[in-house]
């Protein structure tokens, strides 16, 4: 955090008063209004302990205030490692891990998917799994005495296209947040 002078002033033109309701209507986001900002999530978070950019309590406050663009265009909503420790400890049952996923779902809908999500969907459509199992992998498995795996990606591709996620991700190309802060593949 910088000094107060460096922080942008929040005005009501930055706010989307309907945003918290949008989050509530998204699977996983139902409990957001119950947050009373105790900070148990941030105190428990393994990512928060090593990376200042990620702060679940702050993200929930931003969302409740209606700072939609700041939440959806940010890198920080993608830093949750999905460990569920905040969800387990939250005294208000906000289901914070699920809530972080809901925010990512909304960001994806709005055209700001993380590039990694797009790469995952492409891999799943091509292989049915995040890693390809081809001849090379099956040779290795045979040498280890393991049965071959023959993946048929078709049904997975049908699901990803059928829900509209595939077209949504392709349509968002180029609008994703720029990678920064040492993002890995």
């Amino acid at each position: 955090m910088g000094s107060p002078d460096e922080l942008p002033l929040v005005t009501d033109s930055d706010l989307d008063p309907g945003f918290a309701d949008r989050v509530r209507a998204t699977p996983g986001g139902e409990g957001i209004l119950h947050c009373y900002a105790c900070g148990t999530c941030s105190a428990s978070c393994p990512i928060r302990a090593i990376d200042d950019e990620f702060n679940p309590r702050r993200i929930i406050r931003l969302a409740l205030l209606g700072l939609k663009d700041e939440v959806l265009r940010s890198q920080f909503i993608w830093l949750c490692t999905g460990c569920f420790i905040c969800q387990e400890r939250c005294p208000q049952d906000v289901r914070i891990t699920d809530l972080m996923m809901a925010l990512r779902n909304i960001a994806t809908e709005e055209g700001y998917p993380h590039p990694t999500v797009r790469a995952i969907a492409e891999a799943l459509e091509a292989h049915g799994a995040i890693l390809e199992i081809g001849e090379f992998e099956n040779d290795k498995r045979a040498k280890a005495g393991l049965p071959a795996r023959h993946m048929n990606a078709g049904p997975v591709k049908d699901i990803i296209e059928g829900t509209g996620l595939g077209p949504r991700l392709r349509g968002a190309k180029g609008k994703a947040p720029a990678a920064k802060g040492g993002d890995g593949a």
């Binding site: 990512i47 090593i50 498995r141 993946m151 049904p155 997975v156 699901i159 890995g184 593949a185």
Partner: protein
Amino acid sequence: MSGRQFALFLGCNAPVRTLNYDMATRAVLLKLGVGFVDVDEFACCGYPLEAADHLTALTMAARNIALAEARGLDILAICSACSGTLLRARDELLKDPEMRKKVNERLAKEGLEFKGTSEVRHMLRFLHEDVGLDELKRHVTRPLKGLKVAVHYGCHYLKPSEVVGGSDDPEVPHTVDELVALTGAESVPYSERQLCCGGGVLGYREADSHKLIAKKLDSVLAAGADLLEVHCAFCGVMYDGNQKAAERAAGKAYNVPVLVYPQLLGLAMGIDPDTLGFRHNRVRAKELLARLEGVPATR
């Protein structure tokens, strides 16, 4: 163990990146007489797409469960991310008829339907709750005396506790300590026992995942443990496969062998290290194995 048949759910990582887990699981199940089959139609559990679209991820999970149901089989998953995802999906679909209808409309195109007739078990929950500690003890012929084990519970084996946690308290878990104790090895306490492997952030900020690996391994070494135990394919990828990368990032060497639980159990049951896939452990466990009485050398 007879009667119950399982569909072995390997997920994406085990069949490619943690062959030791795949091999040791099969060896132990065979020796215990547990029936299992491979289902080629299984695909990704859906977890990696939870970040993009809930319905897509849920439908992928439901499809895998429906494939097992169509065969009259329960699912035995060896990756905690997979078992957690399938269990959470099953729970949601049983509680939410609207969502189940939506998902089943999509599955109908493949002639499948989620009914909720098949159970989903994590391999270690199955060993602890269904096979049972007493039965497992009867199979131990070569106790792993003197071996100090740092147990890594991992996140999705325990949490969300109401859906996946079984008899474990998510803050003070005990089941894997008991499974380790019956092998004759000792589970040692260490400060970062609850720490996440960082697998969830690997694809989004690799540097953070390396920091989490280093934090865990620092703590494992400080406790004087000989090895880190894991029972999740992705935790295995992180601590074993990515240990070198974490060492480079931290600027120091760890060299902590990472064993999947069926490797420990298999050794104690008298299965040889090659059958248990020790050749596929990235951090070599040769010195460790040499210390154990009656264990043949790996090829």
